[in-house]
């Protein structure tokens, strides 16, 4: 997080179809460096789908999502960290092996990020060499979140990041998001639990849905 990020993210007229149903459409927003977006809405309104669309894991039914300010030609997906419902943690590898792999893989030929420093963020350092399968749900979650620190990327997509975290860890996560924003990063977070973070933007997918309701 030493190098300040200068990436802006813009979504224009984005629509999402899941299982033949249109979840949302005509969704637009723009985020400048240091800004944070809170995505709200009841279950099934497409919070996760939106996150996955930004991450390049779901096709857009309409519209476009673009990131500016990065090295030319870098796909948006490579500027993002996505921490979703699944942790991407291998139970038979140790905590350190898990994190080292993700750092090596996500970084590719680039440099930056420090695995050992990242291990300290959530206090997993004392159990770094224990197989991740022995970890509790909350600890696995923390391990997944450590990807954010082991390999610096400007855009954080956090889908319900506080699930199975205790109060202290949620507070640590909030500090991390603040720090990331101070370094010029963008954070997009969907959560039901108030994180205490002051978001610059709020997107209510339910309200969007309601607005469309009279139309059909």
């Amino acid at each position: 997080m030493n190098t300040p990020f200068t990436v802006t993210l813009e979504a224009r007229g984005v629509a999402c179809d899941r299982g033949g149903r249109r979840l949302f459409e005509d969704l637009s927003f723009a985020l400048a460096p240091g800004e944070a977006l809170l995505v709200q809405g009841p279950n099934g309104t497409g919070k996760t789908s939106l996150m996955r669309q930004i991450a390049g894991l779901l096709p857009l039914a309409a519209g476009e999502i673009s990131a500016k300010g990065a090295e030319a030609g870098t796909p948006t997906a490579e500027l993002c960290h996505y921490v979703g419902h699944l942790n991407g943690v291998k139970t038979s590898l140790s905590v350190r092996e898990n994190l080292t792999f993700w750092a090596d893989y996500l970084r590719g030929d680039a440099t930056g990020g420090d695995v050992n420093a990242a291990l300290g963020v959530f206090g997993l350092a004392p159990i770094a060499d224990i197989a991740a399968g022995l970890l509790s749900a909350g600890q696995k979650r923390k391990l997944a979140l450590l990807r954010l620190f082991a390999c610096p990327r400007p855009i954080w997509l956090l889908d319900e990041p506080s699930v199975s975290l205790d109060v202290a860890s949620v507070e640590r996560l909030r500090q991390a998001i603040t720090g990331h924003r101070e370094a010029g990063g963008i954070a997009i977070v969907s959560t039901h639990v108030p994180l205490g973070e002051a978001f610059t933007h709020t997107l209510d997918l339910h309200a969007l849905d309601m607005a469309e309701e009279p139309a059909p």
């Binding site: 159990i127 224990i130 022995l134 970890l135 909350g138 600890q139 202290a168 507070e171 640590r172």
Partner: protein, 252 residues
């Protein structure tokens, strides 16, 4: 001193017991193996038909005894796991399977080395060797099952059931393989000599049998000790993980 098997049921007592017994047993094994191999290689006479290759028998036959006996150990331990829920039975069975597989592998290899000069090819689908091959496959299945199930309790029960199914099946397999073999090739191909064996051959055979038995018990005790310790490490790691969690929560 009151010493009984129920005392050994306690894993800690078992570890102490194993610690004292293993050096003595190792010495006994080395001694018996030394004497047995010396007799087998230098003392025992050569066979007038098979020549020097008959000496393979001193490895082959005792290995067969132990390889098959080991399955019996596993089957009894399986009963212990399922019926008496003995804490060490599962450990005993799990530790025995790779050893049994190794001995059975030795039987198969020595059998085929013996077979090359006898039959002109490394492998013949002879009824006995074939049955042992099936036994080897059963061992492999047991090991694979243990490896595939992470929870030790569930792995132990599942393997115990498989071991008992195998134990019931083995005689049937043996019978059907005999039948299959005689159906296809009449008894002309291969039958081991007569039942009368010279005592000069028999003594080294029994010494080697004793040596292999001692070797098996030795390896089994070592493997059981390793398995108990492995489970303790697992428990320790789990507590370590819990403590890290508590410490982290307390720090903030």
């Amino acid at each position: 001193m009151t010493f009984s098997l129920t005392n050994l049921a306690n894993p800690t007592r078992f570890l102490n017991f194993a610690g004292t017994v293993i050096p003595w047993l190792a010495a006994l094994t080395v001694l018996l193996l030394g004497v047995g191999l010396y007799q087998a290689v230098f003392v025992a006479p050569t066979d007038y038909q098979q020549g020097e290759t008959v000496r393979i028998m001193y490895i082959h036959v005792p290995a067969a005894w132990v390889g098959m006996g080991c399955y019996a150990v596993i089957a009894i331990a399986a009963l212990g796991t399922l019926i008496w829920r003995h804490p060490l039975a599962d450990v005993a069975a799990k530790a025995a399977a790779p050893i049994g597989a190794a001995f059975t592998f030795v039987i198969l290899v020595t059998g085929s080395l013996w077979g090359k000069p006898m039959w002109g090819t490394y492998w013949v689908w002879d009824a006995r060797l074939t049955s042992l091959l099936v036994l080897f496959l059963l061992y492999l299945g047991l090991i694979a099952l243990w490896q595939s199930i992470e929870d030790p309790g569930r792995a132990g029960r599942a393997a115990a059931i498989l071991a008992l199914v195998g134990a019931v099946n083995l005689p049937i397999i043996k019978f059907s393989v005999d039948w299959w073999n005689t159906l296809h090739q009449p008894a002309s191909v291969f039958r081991t000599g007569g039942s009368t064996i010279d005592p000069a051959l028999l003594t080294p055979l029994f010494v080697m049998g004793g040596a292999f038995l001692a070797l098996f018990v030795l390896l089994h005790l070592i493997a059981m000790r390793a398995e108990i310790l492995r489970r303790r490490v697992r428990v320790l790691q789990q507590t370590q993980v819990q403590q890290a969690q508590i410490a982290q929560a307390a720090r903030a």
